[in-house]
């Protein structure tokens, strides 16, 4: 009964709730801006804020399919696209803050950063990999790509390793790795679940003919 109720509530309002959640950090950022509450160093604040939220939405995106399997709420899968796109949107804001606000499009500074600073190289790579995923997120693109769509979107696993690595290398300058480890732990669990699930299914399908005999 409880499960039935939860299922219906989440079916009815879940998608809207997810959209509100996706927009909340952006609206809060605007609010803080108008309220003059972006700390003494607003650009640093905006950079960290958007980067952190991109990472949060990355974790949320990765959490969708495990949650769906655990709960058997199949409609959860419809939340994955807005969450994934929110991850891309905050990553884009993060990138643009760095490019336009921080470096003022000063390419003589920006270009050396691409190859001289490992954490920037890795962050940029993660962002570039997100672009095709965002572009092919529509229904029509999904149809057009067919089986390749799934293959392409497995890039998210690579991004899920690059993004925390980018954060790690940046924070390692001051050994301040506590928060990084939390994100890494969450991503680790979400990826480990997939490995576990995949192994279980593969072993089961290999074993099942034998048990039939």
């Amino acid at each position: 009964m409880l499960e039935w109720t939860l299922k219906n509530i989440s079916k009815q309002y879940g998608y809207q709730a997810i959209l509100v959640f996706c927009l909340f950090p952006f609206i809060r950022l605007l609010w803080l801006g108008f309220d003059n509450a972006l700390t003494a160093n607003p650009i640093e604040f905006i950079t960290r804020y958007t980067g952190t939220w991109a990472l949060v939405f990355l974790c949320c995106t990765l959490a969708v399919s495990p949650l769906r399997k655990v709960t058997n709420f199949n409609h959860f899968i419809s939340y994955r696209r807005p969450l994934g796109l929110a991850c891309f949107a905050y990553a884009l804001l993060h990138f643009l803050t760095w490019l336009v606000l921080d470096h003022q499009l000063e390419f003589s500074e920006i270009i050396p950063d691409f190859y001289k600073r490992t954490y920037i190289t890795i962050g940029l790579l993660a962002f570039i990999l997100l672009i095709p995923l965002a572009i092919t997120s529509t229904n029509s693109m999904q149809k057009l790509l067919g089986r390749n769509w799934k293959k392409l979107h497995q890039l998210i696993y690579l991004i899920a390793l690059l993004a925390p690595l980018h954060y790690w290398i940046h924070k390692a300058a001051k050994n301040n790795l506590f928060t990084v480890k939390i994100y890494l732990g969450i991503i680790g669990v979400l990826l480990a679940y997939r490995v576990f699930y995949w192994a279980k299914r593969n072993l089961a399908s290999r074993n099942s003919p034998k048990t039939l005999n």
Binding site: T39, A40, N41, E106, D113, Y119, A173, N176
Partner: protein, 323 residues
Amino acid sequence: MTKKSNSSLILPSEITPQHFFENRRNLMKVAAASTLSASMGEWFTRDAVAQSVANKLNSTPNVALSVLEKKTSYEDVTSYNNFYEFGMDKSDPKQNVKNFQTTPWKISIEGLVNKPRVFDLADLLKLAPMEERIYRMRCVEGWSMVIPWVGYSLSNLIKQVEPQGSAKFVEFVSLADKKQMPGLGSQVLSWPYVEGLRLDEAMHPLTLLTLGLYGEVLPKQNGAPVRLVVPWKYGFKSAKSIVKIRLVEKQPANSWWLANPGEYGFYSNVNPEVDHPRWSQASERRIGDDKGFFGPKRKTLMLNGYADQVGSLYAGMDLKKYF
């Protein structure tokens, strides 16, 4: 009877349209609130005045050693701090210093000196005339401020204890008290916080023993009650809340160098030509810049703009090697 009285009854809502009615109510709320805030405001100002009188620290401006750039606001100087003893976020120190006891305070000067001595705060306050010096402050993280410090040259204090000929370096030790400093639980640095200077750097007139800023005693989050300010070096070289100064023969192992020797050198002179391994040091973001916070960064100056005064200390040295 009932019917008649009903028909003659005029409801207030018929006379006053609802939005007028609501507006009036809002006006009353605003009036009430403004009276309240006016009286509260007075209360707060009175409080602030009382506090600033108690904290006032008289000084004479030292124009020759001050820069003419626009000062960073008191609010930014006292709310955006790196003081890891009180937490790693910039906003942590201001929030976590409430229980920090800065009086009484003693500072012990020892090591290779003829007259080792323990000074208390009153000794320090009358040791030399207080000067106000407006210095640039450049953080290794790539931001900067302009701060009106109050204090006097550290050399005044060091001369008191008569360094021996064998003394080559000065080590500064900050307070590390777990009961008062919640950040000490962090493994980021080894505590107590230790910094060091070469003796000639420590004796340079620009090196300021600092007891105040903006005309008042140091706020706790800025390293009260006594700290160092070495304006041509990255901010972390300027030790806060100092309890011990030792004159030594060998180069001290300063905390950041110990934590990450490849990234934080002993000298840590501000130098736009020597990058931090993870970021460029060629430019800096001035906190509260006039150009607005979306304005461009400033070019970082060699030795933070103090090259004329202190450049000779490093004559012939490879500053890439001794970063």
